[in-house]
Amino acid sequence: MSAHAEAAHHEHHGPPAAHQSSRVDARVLGMFLFIASEAMLFGSFFTAYFFVRVVNPGAPTEWPPEPYHFPVFVAGVNTAILVTSSFTMHWALQSIKRGQRTAFLAGMILTFVMGFAFLLTQVVEYLNVGFNTGDGAFASVFFGLTGLHGAHVAVGLTLLGIVIVRGFRGHYSPEHHHGVELPGIYWHFVDVMWIVVYSAVYLI
C-alpha cells in the first residue's frame, strides 16, 4: 500500500497524450457500439414477439385478436413526424458545421418539438387503445416494443434538450460540434428503430 503511495507522488501532472491508433473518433466509435448494444436489446424484444406470434402453437390467427385493433393510422402520422425530425436534426448539424447558429438552433428546436409531439401522441394512444398489459400476449408485445421505443425517445429528447441549452449558451462552433453529432446519431437510430417497430407491430 505504501509502495503505491510513493509511486503516486510523481512530478508529472497529467498524462501523456494517448496515441490515436485509429482514424475513427473514440466518442463516435463508442456511440456506435452503444447503438449496436441497443439494437440487440430491441432484438431481444423482437425475438419475444417472433416466439409469441410465429413459433407459438397457441398464437391467435388474427393479429391482434378480435375485438382489439391497433391504431394504424394515428401511428402512421406519428411515424411521419418522427421521420421528419431526423431531417431537421441533420439540418441542425449541417448548420452548426457551417457556423449558422440560428439555423442550428431552429433545427434543434424543431427536432425537439417533433420528438415531444411523438411521445405525447403515444401516451394518448396508450390511454385510448382499448386494451391493457394484462389482455394477452399480443398486448405484451405491443406495449413491450412501443414502450421500449418510447423510453428511447425520452432519452433522446433529454439529450436534445441538453444540446439546446448548451447551444443557446454558445458552446458549439464549426470546430466543436461533437456534442451535437453524438445525440444526432442516437436520434437517427431511434427513428430508424421506430420504422422497424411500426412495420412489425402495426403493419404486419
Binding site: 508529472h12 494517448a18 448494444s37 431481444s44 425475438t47 400476449a137 458552446h171
Partner: protein, 654 residues
C-alpha cells in the same frame, strides 16, 4: 459517454471563467461532498421519491391499491436508490456539470490515482485503481458465494432435509450461482483486464475513464441487490441462476431482485466492454498493430464484442419475466397466449456466449503466463488469435444445446449439435498450442504457472465433458443432472477461477509493488487442485447414475459419495483462506517487488511496480511481437523513443 480523457475542457467556449470549488469545512465535505456518506443519504432520499411517484401515478390512473409494495420496491429501491447512490458518490458530477450548460471544468486529475487506501472507496478514474477496486469487490462476493456453497453442501452431506428448508436451499443454490457468475467471474476478469490492458497497449488510461468508474460502481449495487433478496418475505430468488419461466414468474418477491440485479450487472459489463473496445481500437501505442497485441488484449477484444452483442438479451429476458410478474403481461404464460420456450431461447442466446465471456479472458491470462514462464514465444500466435475469433463467431450459433431436452423444435437439434461440437476445434487449437509452448521451454514452476498448467489439464476435462453433452443422445440422459454440475465446475472453477488465480498472482507484484509468498502460493495451488478434483470429479458419477441437479434430497444410494463430496468441498473452502492470508500479508508487509520480476516482454512490465500514475512518461514505440523470448536482440517496445527512431519506425510500418 462523451467524456474522454484528453478533453480538458474541449467544448468550453472562450471567455468563460474557470470554475472554482469554494473551500469548505471537513465535516461539510464528509456529509455533502461526493463519497459514500452522500451516496447513502441520497439513495435513501430517492427511495421516498420513487415511492411517491408510484403512488401518485397509480392514484392518477385510479388503480387500487395505490400502495403496491412490490412496485414501490422496483421503482424506489431497485431503480431510484441506485441512481441516487451513484449520484451521491459523485459518479455523475462531471456529466451533470456538463448538461447543466456550464462550461466544462478543466481536468485537474484529482480523481485519478490512489494516494491512500481511502481513495479506493471513492469514485476514481484511474484504470489501475478501478482494476483493484474490481478485484477486491469480486473476491468479497466470491467469499460470500463460497460460504453459501458450503452451507448447501452441508445440507447435501446426507439425504433428506437437515439444516435449511426447501425454499432456502433453492435460494442458496440460485444466489450462489448468480454471485459467482455475475459478481465474480465476469467482473474479476474485467478487473484484471482493467488493470493490464491499457498498460499493455501503451495507453495512459482507458478511453472513457469516468464511464469506467461508473461501470465499477454498478457492481456493488447488483451484488447487494442479489443478497438483499434474502431479506424480503418469501426469501431469496429460488429458481436457479437460469430462472426459467414460468417457475420464476410465480416466485415470491425475491425473484424481482434477480430480474433487476441482472440489469445493473449487465449494464456494468456492457459499459466496460464498450470501453475496452474503444480503447483497444483507438489507443494502441504507435507500432502496436493488431498482430502485435498480447493475447490478453485479443482475448478481451473478443470477449467485449460478445458482451456488447449478447448481454442485451439477458436484459430482455429478465424484463419480460419482471413485466409478467408485476405488470401482468403474458410473454411466457400460455394461458394468456405466451410461449414458454421463448424465455429459454432468449436467455441462452446470452448465456451461452456468456460462458465464453467467462472463459476467453482466462485464455488470455494463461497465454501470458505460459509464454513468460516457459520462456518461449506462444506457439502459433496468429492461430491463437484467430481461434478466439472462431469461438466468438461459433459461440452465437450454439445456444440451443442447452435445450436439447426442452421440447424445442426437433430440426434444431442436429445443426446445434454440429456447431457445438465444432467449437471444440478452436478450443482444441488453444490447448495444443499451450502444450507446444511448454515443449522444450525453460519452465519456471511458480504459482502463476502452476495455476496455468492446472487450468490446462482441468479445462480439458471440462471441454471433454462438454463433448459428451454436445452429443444429443448423451445429453438427453445427462442433462439437468449432477453431470452438468461437474461440467460447469470443471470449466468455470478448474477453468476460469484457476486463471483468475493465475492472473492475480502474476500481476500481484505489478499491482501492489510487493511480492506474494511463493511457498504459500504453491500450498494454495496444491490444496485447491486436489480438493477441487475430489469435490467435482465424483459429481460426474452421481449425475450419470441418476441424481438430478438442484435437489436437497436424493436417493439413499448416493449418500456416501455426497458425504465425501461435501467434506472435500470444505477443504476446498479452507484452501481459499490460505490465498486470502497470503494476499493480505504480502500486500501490507511483503518484500518490495522489482519492476519486472518475471522478465516478461509485454509493456506493463517495462514500467515501475506499481506503475506511475499516468502509466508512461512518454508513449512507448512498439517494434515487435509481445512474446519474442529467446530471439536474440528482440524487443517488444522502445520505452522512450528518440524522435528519429520513431520516424524511422513509422516509415517501416507504413
Amino acid at each position: 459517454m462523451t467524456a474522454t480523457h484528453d478533453q480538458h475542457g474541449g467544448h468550453a467556449a472562450e471567455g468563460y471563467p474557470e470554475h472554482f470549488e469554494p473551500p469548505r469545512g471537513r465535516a461539510w465535505t464528509m456529509a455533502f461532498g461526493p463519497g459514500l456518506v452522500r451516496g447513502a443519504w441520497m439513495a435513501l432520499r430517492v427511495v421516498g421519491l420513487g415511492a411517491l411517484l408510484v403512488v401518485a401515478l397509480r392514484a392518477w390512473w385510479g388503480w387500487s391499491p395505490y400502495w403496491d409494495t412490490h412496485i414501490v420496491l422496483v421503482v424506489g429501491a431497485m431503480t431510484a436508490a441506485p441512481i441516487g447512490f451513484l449520484a451521491g458518490i459523485g459518479s455523475f458530477d462531471y456529466w451533470l456539470h456538463y448538461v447543466s450548460g456550464r462550461p466544462t471544468r478543466p481536468e485537474d486529475h484529482s480523481g485519478h490515482g490512489a494516494r491512500t487506501w481511502r481513495d479506493y472507496f471513492k469514485v476514481n478514474t484511474d484504470h489501475k485503481v478501478i482494476g483493484i477496486q474490481y478485484l477486491v469487490t469480486t473476491f468479497f462476493f466470491f467469499t460470500i458465494g463460497g460460504l453459501m456453497a458450503m452451507l448447501f453442501r452441508a445440507e447435501l452431506a446426507q439425504p433428506g432435509l437437515q439444516f435449511v428448508d426447501s425454499q432456502t436451499f433453492n435460494g442458496l443454490v440460485s444466489v450462489h450461482a448468480t454471485l459467482m457468475i455475475f459478481l465474480f467471474i465476469i467482473p474479476a476478469f474485467a478487473g484484471l483486464a482493467n488493470f493490464a490492458v491499457p498498460l499493455m497497449l501503451g495507453a495512459p488510461d482507458m478511453a472513457f475513464p469516468r464511464l469506467n468508474a461508473l461501470s465499477f460502481w454498478l457492481l456493488p449495487i447488483a451484488g447487494l441487490m442479489f443478497l438483499a433478496s434474502f431479506l424480503v418475505p418469501g426469501g431469496a430468488f429460488a429458481s436457479g441462476w437460469t430462472a426459467y419461466a414460468p417457475l420464476s414468474e410465480g416466485q415470491p418477491m425475491g425473484q424481482t431482485f434477480f430480474n433487476m440485479g441482472v440489469q445493473w450487472a449487465g449494464a456494468s459489463s456492457i459499459m466496460t466492454a464498450l470501453n475496452f473496445l474503444v480503447t483497444i481500437i483507438t489507443m494502441r501505442a504507435p507500432g502496436m498493430t493488431f498482430w502485435r497485441m498480447p493475447l490478453l488484449v485479443w482475448a478481451n477484444f473478443t470477449t467485449s464484442l460478445l458482451v456488447v452483442i449478447a448481454t442485451p438479451f439477458i436484459a430482455g429476458s429478465q424484463f419480460f419475466v419482471m413485466f409478467d410478474r408485476i405488470m401482468h403481461t403474458d410473454f411466457f404464460t400460455p394461458e394468456g397466449g405466451g410461449y414458454v420456450l421463448g424465455y429459454q431461447h432468449i436467455f441462452w442466446f446470452y448465456s451461452h456466449p456468456a460462458v465464453y465471456i467467462m472463459m476467453l479472458p482466462g485464455f488470455g491470462i494463461v497465454s501470458e503466463v505460459i509464454s513468460t514462464m516457459a520462456r518461449k514465444p506462444i506457439f502459433g500466435y496468429r492461430l491463437m488469435a484467430l481461434s478466439l475469433i472462431g469461438i466468438l463467431v461459433l459461440g452465437f450459433s450454439v445456444w440451443a444445446h442447452h435445450m436439447f431436452v426442452a421440447g424445442m423444435a426437433d430440426w434444431l437439434r442436429v445443426p446445434m449439435m454440429i456447431t457445438t461440437l465444432l467449437i471444440a476445434v478452436p478450443t482444441g487449437i488453444k490447448v495444443f498450442s499451450w502444450t507446444a509452448t511448454l515443449w522444450r521451454g525453460r519452465i519456471r514452476l511458480n504459482t502463476p504457472m502452476l495455476f496455468a498448467l492446472g487450468f490446462v489439464t482441468m479445462f480439458v476435462i471440462g471441454g471433454l465433458s462438454g463433448i459428451y453433452l454436445g452429443s444429443v443422445p448423451i445429453d438427453i440422459h445427462a442433462s439437468d443432472t449432477y453431470f452438468i454440475v461437474a461440467h460447469i465446475h470443471y470449466v468455470l472453477f478448474g477453468g476460469s477461477v484457476f486463471t483468475i488465480f493465475a492472473g492475480v498472482y502474476y500481476w500481484f507484484p505489478k499491482m501492489t509493488g510487493r511480492m506474494y509468498d511463493e511457498r504459500l502460493g504453491k500450498l494454495h495451488f496444491w490444496l485447491t487442485f486436489v480438493s477441487f478434483n475430489a469435490t467435482f470429479f465424483p459429481m460426474h458419477y452421481v449425475g450419470l447414475r441418476g441424481m438430478p441437479r438442484r435437489v436437497f434430497d436424493y436417493a439413499e444410494a448416493f449418500g456416501q459419495l455426497n458425504f465425501f463430496i461435501s467434506i472435500a468441498s470444505f477443504v476446498l473452502g479452507a484452501s481459499f483462506v490460505i490465498f486470502v492470508y497470503n494476499i493480505v500479508t504480502s500486500w501490507t508487509r511483503g518484500p518490495v517487488a522489482e519492476s519486472n520480476p518475471w522478465r516478461a516482454h509485454t509493456l506493463e512490465w517495462q514500467v515501475s511496480s506499481p506503475p506511475p500514475i499516468f502509466n508512461f512518461d512518454e508513449i512507448p514505440q512498439v517494434v515487435g511481437g509481445p512474446y519474442e523470448y529467446g530471439v536474440p536482440g528482440a524487443r517488444h517496445a522502445v520505452m522512450s523513443p528518440a524522435k528519429e527512431h520513431v520516424a524511422e519506425q513509422e516509415e517501416v510500418h507504413a
